[in-house]
Amino acid sequence: MIRYELPPSRNIEHPDIETVLGADGRADPHLDPKLDTALVVRIYEAMLRTRVLDDRMLALQRQGRVSFHVGCRGEEAAIIAAAAALRAEDWIFPCYRELGALLWRGFPLQRYVDNMFGNADDVVQGRQMPDHVTGRQWQYASVSSPIGTQIMHAVGFGWAAKLKKEKLATAVFFGDGATSTPDFHTGLNFAGVYKTPTVFLCRNNRWAISVPSDKQTASASFAAKGAAYGVRSVRVDGNDALATYRAVREAVERSEQGPTLIELVTYRLGGHSTSDDPKAYRLQEEVDLQIKGDPLTRLRRHLELLGAWSELQERRLVGQLDAEIKACVEIAEKKPAPALRSMFDGVYAERPWHLDEQYETSKRGPRPEKE
């Protein structure tokens, strides 16, 4: 069942997948979105930042300093280039791997690291697992674990904006596994019927934990599912930052006419999360082959061709990021846990009598309020 597909950069074998960046780093002149080089550099830098961050979080988890991390190694183009293609007014409804999209929008790194430690400064007050953040100010909805549920929210949000004649699109990320959930079906169906301004971003990273994408569905592709809902769809090389940007931008710009389903064909180079060991279900050969299609390598080659990136810049940025992350971790680790009270707040807009009582009882216990 494990397939040795060629890396997406060799898309001569996958003529149905939209690709811009060739293996040589050159952009297909017909499809090139012709972005400012400065923007492409920013995208690359953000991809690299996410990569470095993932590595450091993984290390912290292995050292037992954070309990869990879910990263996006291999999917940086699908995430960052998609985020870059969105307009300021657009909203992001994330799955759990899209931290890079939030950072792209300006979410402070310190707040992210605070979330990893679930400390008192965590935006969600240590209530959720690491990597489960929210960023309203950055038009980024709340990360939750249940697969697929955010899809309906993106549809409802976009639909509401449309009813209010506000022009914005909602972009919702989810995995290949998520296409099997009820919410995928309902989300696409409602979006098709009401022509909501929704961009469905299916990160097909070939795996849902240990289940390969060809066991997830017998459909010819994930993009093919759009037709079942009268929803426009495209299949894109998700390891190709330019192709991703192009497709997402187009979808967003035509979102007033209705939704688009974009299958971003990519590959999860790491484990599902720090709790997972992929050696148990896939061969290293498959991963090795996919490493050749690493989205960072591909974009870097392009930038090098343009003379816009160098080894020196790379090393300098990595060093900078390392220092920045280290500083945030040191601060985050020293911050206290959230106050006991915070556990009883926010269940409702106002705390009702029974939670007052439960809080009081907790305070009286042998573990006093830590405030």
């Binding site: 409802g156 169906n189 409702y348």
Partner: protein
């Protein structure tokens, strides 16, 4: 009651542009019980929306709408069909405020007809309220009469939290009374003593309230029964309950839902925790049975007055 709820929806929609109604068959025909009749004519099909057949979609889309800033009032055609939306209600709506550190609340009122007595069998009769009371983050409301229905719904739509609004369909048309015109609210924090009494406290809600009252009348004046209509089931008005039980020392809880792990169990526990030394008899539950809801024998299933009366007599004589 149908008219009163319709009235509340209309008032909300007139006064607040953010209110939208969505669900199966709520638009063109105005709902299978006609609760939303005429709303689409007045507010258009953009605010009174007929949806595809997917309860999870109705609630999930409403959550997204609420995040945007609307005040959606989704309808689930029968409470028995709420389970496909269970994940969105329990995993998402109930937890969204908390898990987002307060960045997004989900003000939304899920209206749904519930309860037996209309020959609906398994799937047009259920009373699933306790499932939602168990889930932190939800409010659960159940009016028993048109006046309360209107005032409670207006409050619920203005509330900042997700509310499950259970409408007792057995009294949709039965309970007639003069409903005040215009805008008024009934708070989501107050139960109502509908019949004062000194010997036994009966706690009920929805359609069973009338059975409780009938039973109370039946045993009067020998046994003087106080009947409390909870109106808001959760967070429950504990003060009214405790004050009453401390006075009477005896309590009977009546509900249609199956007995085991029904809300009656919670009420009994609360009474024990807060008024144990005042209890002169064990708290009693008169409830639906732990079976699926039957068709032919529904009057043997429901905790009608004929089953409440002996409970009152036994409790009073304990």
């Amino acid at each position: 009651m149908v008219q009163a709820i319709n009235d509340a929806l209309r008032i909300s929609m007139r006064g607040d542009e953010r209110v939208v109604v969505l669900g199966e068959d709520v638009g063109k025909v105005g709902g299978v019980f006609r609760v939303t009749a005429g709303l689409q004519d007045e507010f258009g099909s953009e605010r009174v929306i007929d949806t595809p057949l997917a309860e999870g979609g109705i609630v999930g889309a409403s959550i997204g709408m609420a995040m945007y800033g609307l005040r959606p009032v989704p309808e689930i055609q029968f409470a028995d069909f709420i389970y496909p939306a269970f994940d969105q209600i329990v995993s998402e709506a109930a937890k969204y405020r908390y898990r987002s550190g307060g960045e997004f609340g989900i003000p939304m009122v899920i209206r749904t007809p519930f309860g037996g007595g209309i020959r609906g069998g398994h799937y047009h009769s259920q009373s699933p309220e306790s499932l939602f009371i168990h889930v932190a983050g939800l409010k659960v409301v159940c009016p028993s009469n048109p006046v309360d229905a209107k005032g409670l719904l207006l409050s619920a739509i203005r509330d900042e939290d997700p509310v499950l609004f259970f409408e007792p369909k057995r009294v949709y048309r039965a309970a007639k009374m003069d409903v005040p015109d215009g805008d008024y609210t009934v708070p989501l924090t107050k139960a109502k003593v509908v019949r004062p009494g000194e010997h036994v406290t009966v706690i009920a809600w929805g359609a069973m309230l009338y059975e409780a009252i009938a039973a109370a009348e039946h045993v009067a004046p020998k046994v003087d029964v106080e009947v409390i209509d909870l109106r808001t089931l959760w967070p429950v008005d504990i003060d009214t309950i405790v004050e009453s039980v401390k006075r009477t020392g005896r309590v009977v809880v009546v509900h249609e839902a199956p007995r085991t792990c029904g809300f009656g169990a919670e009420l009994v526990s609360l009474v024990c925790e807060k008024a144990f030394l005042h209890l002169e008899a064990p708290p009693v539950r008169v409830t639906g049975h732990d079976t699926p809801f039957p068709y032919t024998l529904e009057n043997d299933y429901l905790p009608l007055a004929h089953r409440i009366v002996p409970a009152l007599l036994e409790t009073a004589a304990y």
